[in-house]
């Protein structure tokens, strides 16, 4: 049958031109792969949700107890479960001190290492140094913990005096945590710097910029989102780090910002309490879930803040 086409010409079915087979074909392999990928993605989300649910459930049991109220929990400066004092501040300040010290070490040194590797080092140098740096990240944290206790603490004590620096102190734990996190920040930041297109560097060099100007004023801002991700990952790692603080920072809540004093961080406390014999559903037992939930909110908040920060300052190069 003749059919009108868009341009008004008639198009006949031509017996000399058989129809090509353009029918949809079944591709079972595609469906299998797609569902498999979906399932793995779903599984990780499901696990996360389950963890949050479990944390929330146990924490709810804690907050429901008459001896506890939320305001006191958030603002109290004493954490003494045996007399039913649950103020998280001593644990939180210890976490804050160790994290701050760690990041004060890890961010500048890690960034400097990343800039060196990406902008200054020769290819050969980079290919040798980067794997070594990454090996540092593979050392078990318990080893770092003993390094803090048996090397850094005596060092601090000999520098600042035995009566100022306690045997267990947050300072030495923080310093060593910084060393632990440094390679993480260096490695991820280096990837981000390296991903900045060559064309941008050439543009800057072509204008008579020095290496330092290119690195700091062109490459660094362009790689900011990746660097921010590295820093956030580092902070999350520092907040969550357990072994070093459990070994070197001290075993007892202490409301202080003094890095030379012993204090127990949130993670350190959880580890100590859950190591002891706690009966299920006791208030002590439930309290560690409340601390866990706080840790979760802390890292979540950091993630949100960093996303805002990146969106605000990022220089999009594509």
């Amino acid at each position: 049958m003749a059919k009108k086409t868009a341009n008004g010409l008639k198009q006949d079915k031509d017996p000399a031109r058989p129809l090509l087979n353009l029918k949809k074909r079944r591709r079972p392999g595609e469906i299998v792969i797609q569902s498999l990928l979906f399932f793995t993605g779903f599984f990780s989300i499901f696990t996360t949700i389950s963890i949050v649910y479990e944390l929330g459930k146990e924490a709810w049991l804690f907050f429901r107890t008459p001896a506890v109220n939320l305001l006191e929990f958030l603002t109290g400066t004493k954490w003494q479960p045996h007399i039913e004092e649950f103020g998280i501040l001593p644990l939180a300040t210890a976490t804050l001190v160790t994290t701050a010290i760690a990041m004060a070490i890890a961010i500048p040194l890690g960034l400097a290492a990343a800039i060196y590797l990406s902008e200054y080092a020769s290819k050969k140098m980079r290919n040798t140094l980067k794997p070594i740096l990454e090996v540092l990240a593979g050392i078990p944290t318990i080893v770092y913990g003993y390094f803090a206790l048996t090397f850094v603490t005596p060092l601090l004590r000999s520098v600042f005096g035995n009566d100022i620096v306690e045997i267990y102190n947050t300072g030495s734990a923080g310093l060593v945590m910084g060393i632990l996190i440094l390679p993480l920040i260096a490695s991820i930041s280096e990837d981000a710097l390296n991903a900045v297109p060559r064309a941008l560097r050439e543009a800057a060099y072509g204008l008579g910029a020095t290496k330092l100007e290119v690195a700091v004023k062109i490459v660094l801002p362009a790689a900011l989102s990746g660097i921010a991700a590295a820093v956030i990952l580092g902070i999350s790692r520092a907040i969550g780090e357990t072994m070093i603080v459990a070994v070197a920072a001290g075993a007892g809540p202490n409301f202080t910002l003094n890095p030379f004093k012993a204090a127990e961080t949130m993670t350190g406390h959880i580890v100590r309490i859950s190591g002891g014999d706690l009966s299920y559903d006791s208030i002590d037992y439930n309290s560690i879930f409340a601390i866990g939930l706080m840790l979760f909110f802390l890292t979540l908040t950091l993630n949100i803040i960093s996303q805002r920060f990146v969106r605000r300052f990022r220089e999009v190069y594509e």
Binding site: S122, K123, P197, A199, L200, R201, E202, A203, A204, Y205, G206, L207, G208, A209, T210, E213, K217, I218, P221, A222, E315, V316, Y317, E318
Partner: protein
């Protein structure tokens, strides 16, 4: 003494990537306030030669050079010469527009600022953008990203950025090859304006473009030896290269009989 009319003179210039001799024995003089085109087939070392004029080649590890490139009578490859100073005086525009991921204003101001520009930055930005024939199109969006404008505008922004540091020479590496014909025309018109103040060296694939815009043309080709190195086989006024070339290979190439 008469004015020296050559900005660049190369003497026995050889450029190596590692052991590979990419460009062999180039001896050309680039005249002042003219447009010199470098043409030739792909892979014959046109860009490599261009990048020898502002020492951009050495950003690639393992590159080295034999021979001389005189810039205003001074050998650029003398040990005492600072490549940063060289690139400050010899600007470059690249094949693909590569504005910084900063605002239009900041793109133009950036280099002037790092070189310690004293004076009114707003004026410098405006005059540079005007010279690049871009001012009218962007004067209301100076603080938008340099990547938010069209490819042709981005390329003119890159030219404005190069002009802002007041170079003597602008090297252009196929500046229009990523652009449509209308944007290309604008860039070519702009080049005619710019040559009043600057010396321009342009690499181009497009022979019509070379014929349209340039005053002198260097024809490059692989020298056919075992090393597969590129070299300048003929250098003359553009007019002559395209109408009465002396080298048979040039004639074949410009008349499309190449290959």
């Amino acid at each position: 003494m008469t004015e020296i009319n050559y900005v660049f003179e190369t003497h026995g210039l050889n450029i190596f990537y590692g052991n590979f001799l990419a460009v062999a024995d180039v001896n050309i003089n680039i005249p002042r306030h003219k447009i010199t085109a470098i043409i030739g087939p792909s892979g014959c070392g046109k860009s490599t030669l261009l990048r020898a004029f502002n020492r951009m080649n050495e950003l690639v590890p393992d590159t080295h050079i034999h021979g001389e490139v005189l810039f205003e009578g001074q050998n650029l490859y003398e040990k005492s010469v600072d490549p940063v100073e060289v690139r400050y005086r010899i600007g470059m525009v690249f094949q693909k527009p590569n504005p910084f991921p900063k605002s239009i204003y900041e793109n133009v101001a950036w280099a002037a600022r790092i070189h310690g520009h004293k004076g009114n930055m707003d004026e410098l930005v405006e005059s540079s953008l005007r010279q690049a024939a871009l001012w009218d199109e962007v004067k209301d969006i100076l603080h938008s990203s340099g990547l938010a404008i069209s490819g042709g505008q981005q390329q003119r922004l890159c030219i404005a950025r190069a002009i802002a540091v007041k170079p003597e020479v602008i090297l252009m590496d196929e500046p229009a090859s990523a652009l449509d014909p209308i944007a290309t025309l604008k860039i070519e018109e702009l080049m005619q304006e710019l040559k009043q103040k600057y010396t321009i060296v342009i690499v181009t694939h497009n022979m019509q473009q070379a014929a349209r815009v340039s005053d002198h043309t260097a024809m490059m080709m692989l020298n056919g030896g075992a090393t597969r190195s590129g070299t300048v086989i003929e250098f003359d006024e553009t007019n002559k290269i395209f109408t009465r070339p002396t080298d048979k290979r040039t004639e074949d190439y410009v008349t499309g009989r190449f290959g």
